[in-house]
C-alpha cells in the first residue's frame, strides 16, 4: 500500500518526538517507530541534560561551549557547539514547562549536578550543569514528549520498520516500511523525511544499547549514497556493569562516586589530576584499560570497581535509585555497602549522517539533499567531535530535533511532491522472498555474534593498524556469508527472525565503515586511540572523515573542522 504524508519522521525517540511537535499543525506528519514510541532508547538515558542555568552555582554558556569543544578534542565544529550551549537554557525551561519532573533545589528551581568534563572558568573545576530527574532523566523526558505528541493528535505508526530509503536525483522520495504485525510492505511517499533512528551500539559485543539500536537510518542513508562522517569515533562509557554492559550513569561519579583499582587506589587522580573521576569518558575508559593492562584490574581480571559506598542511602535512593536497582537485580549487590564491578561498554556513536545546523542532510559534495533531514545520534553535526560529554546528548536531541522541525516547516512549501519510482517496494520484497526461501541458510544470529567479536577484539578502545586490517578482511568474509543468510520463520506476523536478518546487513555495513574510518585516521584523538599513532596530530588530522559507499567498496575523503573561538590546545584535565 502507498501512504502519503508531507513529513515522515523515522524514529520516535527524543529527537523525532521533538521535531514532530514542531511540524505538527502546519503539515501532515507521521511518526514511524520500530518499537512502541515509549520504548525508544532515549528512555535509557539516565544522568541528565546540560544547561548553564546557574541554579546551584555560577555558570555560563561560554564555559559550556568550551567544555563541549575540549571534550570533543577540538574536532567539534564550534559554530554548532555555540548554538547548543546558547540554546540549552531555553530548551530546558521548555521541557520543564511541558511537565518534565526535574529534581528540585530547596528553593524550587531545577536541581543540577556535576558531570564529566563540565567545568567552570574554562576547565578550572567541575561545575553543576546537569539537570536531572533522579537517574531516569531520558525516560521522563521521552514520556513527557510522547504524551505531548499524543495530545496533538500526531499520527504514529508503531512497530513499523524502515527497510529502504528512496532518494532520486538529489531529492528524497519516501521510505519503504515493513509492518511488523502483518508482514506487509508499504511505501510512504513524503516531501520531507527526518531520520531520527539513533545509534548502532549493537555492532559491539558489550554495549549499553538496546537490541533495537541497529543503525537502520544511518545504514540506509549510506546505502542510498549519503556519505557518513566521523564513523571512527565510538564512545565507550567507562562504567558498564561487568559482563553485561548495562549502564551505570556518570551521575554516580557526579554525585561523588569514585573508581578504584585492585589496590583500592583512586586511580583517576593520576590521569586527570584536576577533575579526577569527572574526566571525559574517552579518557576514563582508556585509564581503566591501562590499569587492567598493568595488572591492577580487580583480582587481575578485566574490570575495576565503582565505589558509591560513601554516598549514603538517602542520596542513592533519591538520585541514583535505578542504577542501584540494576546492581541489586543483576549482581545481587547493594550500592550502599558493596563495590560495583564495572568495565567500559559501547555507548554512543559520535559519527553518523552529515547534517548542517538545521538538520539538512549533506551529500558527498556537501550539498543539501532536498527533503532529507536527520537529527539525534544517527546524525553528525559535528557537535560532539571526537568524544561526547555526558548530558550533551539529551540536549542535542531537543535542540537540534526542534531545529530540524522548524526547518522542515519552513522549507516544505518549496519542496515538490517527489516522483515515486514504479513499484518502489520491489527490491525489498525480492530480498525478503530470497531470504525466506533459504530456510536453512546461514543463521543471522551466528554471523552477528562473529561481527560483534571482531569489532570488540579489533576496534574498541585501543586500535592498531594490524588489527584494523584484520578486522576489515574478517568483515568482508562475513559479508560473503551474509549473502547466504536464511530465515526460518515463514510466517507473516511478528516475524522478528526476518527482521534480525535484515538488520544484520545494516550492522555489517556500519561495522565496516567504523573500521575503515579508524584505519584511515592515523592519529589519536578523543575516543579514537591508535597505539601505532598515539599522539593527536592537528597538522594533518584536524579534519572530519567521510566515507562514501561505491559500487565496489568505499571511498574515504575529508572536510575541514570549523574553529571559531577556541584554538586547539593540548587536552589535559
Amino acid at each position: 500500500m502507498v501512504f502519503k504524508h508531507d513529513v515522515v519522521i523515522v524514529g520516535a525517540g527524543l529527537a523525532g518526538l521533538r521535531a514532530a511537535l514542531e511540524v505538527a499543525g502546519s503539515a501532515d506528519v507521521a511518526l514511524l517507530s520500530k518499537v512502541y514510541p515509549t520504548r525508544s532508547h532515549s528512555g535509557a538515558a539516565q544522568g541528565g541534560i546540560a544547561a548553564a542555568l546557574g541554579n546551584e552555582e555560577p555558570d555560563s554558556w561560554e564555559w559550556h561551549m568550551f567544555d563541549t569543544v575540549k571534550g570533543g578534542d577540538y574536532l567539534t565544529d564550534q559554530h554548532v557547539a555555540e548554538i547548543l550551549a546558547q540554546d540549552a537554557v531555553r530548551a530546558v525551561y521548555e521541557l520543564e514547562h511541558m511537565g518534565v519532573p526535574f529534581n528540585r533545589t530547596e528553593d524550587g528551581r531545577i536541581a543540577q549536578r556535576a558531570f564529566g568534563g563540565h567545568t567552570r572558568d574554562f576547565g578550572a573545576a567541575p561545575v553543576k550543569r546537569g539537570c536531572y530527574a533522579a537517574d531516569r532523566s531520558g525516560r521522563v523526558m521521552m514520556d513527557t514528549l510522547y504524551f505531548e505528541v499524543v495530545k496533538k493528535g500526531i499520527r504514529i505508526y508503531p512497530e513499523f520498520h524502515m527497510l529502504d530509503l528512496v532518494v532520486r536525483d538529489g531529492q528524497v522520495a519516501g521510505v519503504t516500511v515493513y509492518e511488523l504485525a502483518t508482514g506487509e510492505l508499504h511505501f510512504i511517499q513524503a516531501r520531507a523525511v527526518l531520520l531520527a533512528t539513533g545509534g548502532f551500539g549493537k555492532v559491539f559485543k558489550t554495549t549499553s544499547n538496546a537490541f533495537a539500536n541497529t543503525g537502520d537510518g544511518v545504514y540506509l542513508a549510506y546505502r542510498a549514497g549519503i556519505p557518513l562522517e566521523d564513523m571512527e569515533f565510538v564512545q565507550f562509557h567507562p562504567t558498564g556493569i561487568y559482563g553485561l554492559g548495562v549502564l551505570i550513569s556518570e551521575a554516580a561519579r557526579g554525585e561523588g562516586g569514585v573508581l578504584r583499582n585492585d589496590l583500592g587506589d583512586r586511580f583517576m587522580e593520576r590521569y586527570a589530576p584536576t577533575i579526577k573521576d569527572l574526566g571525559p569518558r574517552d579518557m576514563i575508559s582508556r585509564a581503566i584499560y591501562m590499569e587492567i593492562r598493568e595488572g591492577r584490574g580487580i583480582g587481575g581480571k578485566d574490570y575495576v570497581h565503582l565505589d558509591l559506598t560513601h554516598l549514603g542511602e538517602k542520596r542513592l535512593a533519591e538520585r541514583l535509585s535505578d542504577i542501584s536497582s540494576f546492581v541489586r537485580i543483576y549482581l545481587g549487590l547493594d550500592t550502599a555497602k558493596d563495590l560495583v564491578p564495572v568495565q567500559p561498554t559501547c555507548h554512543y556513536m559520535m559519527g553518523g549522517i552529515p547534517v548542517n545546523v538545521d538538520g539538512q542532510v549533506l551529500d558527498a559534495s556537501h550539498e543539501v539533499v532536498t527533503g532529507l533531514y536527520a537529527a539525534g545520534e544517527c546524525s553528525c553535526l559535528s557537535l560532539h567531535g571526537a568524544n561526547r560529554l555526558g548530558c550533551n546528548s539529551l540536549l542535542d536531541l531537543v535542540v537540534f530535533g526542534r531545529r530540524a522541525g522548524l526547518k522542515m516547516r519552513g522549507e516544505l512549501a518549496g519542496i515538490p511532491w517527489p516522483v515515486v519510482p514504479e513499484d518502489p517496494e520491489r527490491a525489498v520484497r525480492d530480498r525478503i522472498a530470497e531470504m525466506k526461501g533459504r530456510r536453512n541458510g546461514e543463521r543471522a544470529a551466528r554471523l552477528r555474534r562473529e561481527l560483534q567479536e571482531i569489532m570488540t577484539t579489533h576496534c574498541s578502545v585501543f586500535r592498531h593498524e594490524e588489527n584494523l586490517v584484520r578486522a576489515l578482511s574478517d568483515i568482508a568474509a562475513l559479508k560473503d556469508a551474509y549473502a547466504r543468510v536464511g530465515v526460518e520463520d515463514q510466517g507473516s506476523r511478528f516475524n522478528t527472525d526476518l527482521l534480525e536478518a535484515v538488520e544484520l546487513e545494516h550492522l555489517l555495513g556500519l561495522g565496516e565503515a567504523i573500521v575503515a574510518s579508524a584505519l584511515a585516521r592515523k592519529e589519536s584523538r578523543g575516543a579514537h586511540s591508535r597505539e601505532d599513532f598515539p599522539e593527536r596530530d592537528d597538522e594533518n588530522w584536524l579534519k572530519h572523515t567521510l566515507i562514501h559507499k561505491q559500487d565496489q567498496g568505499f571511498r574515504i575523503f575529508d572536510k575541514p573542522v570549523t574553529i571559531t573561538r577556541f584554538q586547539p590546545k593540548p587536552r589535559a584535565y
Binding site: Y36, S40, G99, R104, V150, L247, A445, T496
Partner: protein, 239 residues
Amino acid sequence: MEMHFKIFRFDPETDREPYYRDYVVAAEPQERILDCLNRIKWEQDGTLGYRMSCAHGVCGSDGMRINGVCGLACQRLVKDFQGSEILLEPLPHFRILKDLVVDMEEFLERVKAMQPYLLASTPPPERERLQGPEERRKVEDVIRCILCGSCTGACPAMDENPEYVGPAALVWAYRYLFDSRDGQYTERLRALDDHNAVWSCKNYFECTRVCPKGIPVTRSINLMKREINKVFGEKGPAS
C-alpha cells in the same frame, strides 16, 4: 545448567488454538530469562514471537507471565528458577497477537484517556515553574512507570470488570493529579471518581507485588480514593 522451558504458542493466522512447546537450553545462574528466550530463538526456533529491546528493565517491552507471575523477562534471573520448569505465557487481560506478543493498543488508549500531560492554568513563566522538593516528592514513585503492562496483566479486578481502566492508567492519572504545576486538579479528580476508574480497585495488591519498578500502585490508587472522598464527600467503593 540445563533449563526447561514451557512456552505458550499461538499464531492466530495458522493455529486453531494455543498450545505449549517445550525447550531445553543451557544457561548460567546469573543470566536473564530473556537471555534464555534469545538463545531459544537464535539457536532452536526462529518462529518464537516475543518483544524485547533494552534488556535491563527500562523500555518495558518484555512484560509476560513467568511461572504465573507478571514481570519483565529481562529482570528475572535463571538462578531464581533453579530446579523448576519455567512457564512463559503472554500477559493476561491483553489480546494475543502472536505467542508472547500482546496487543498494547487498548492499554495505551486507557492511559491516554487519563490526559497524561501537564494542563497548566497559567502561562509559563520566563524561567522554570517553581516546585519545592516536597511537592516534587509526591510524584517521585509514579514517574518510574515504564508502561510494561505487568500491573494491568496481574490485576484480578480486570476479570471482574473488563471496562476497568486498570492500575497502569491510574498511575498516570496520579502522576498529573499530584503534580503541583498542573491546573486541572478538580477535573482530573472528578474523572477518577468512576466505577471504571478508582472504584474498580479492590485492593488485591497484585499490581504492587508485580511492578518491576517498585511503584506502590495500590497505595497510589487508595490515595486518590481518599482525595475524592475528601473533596466530593464520602462515597466508599461503588458496588
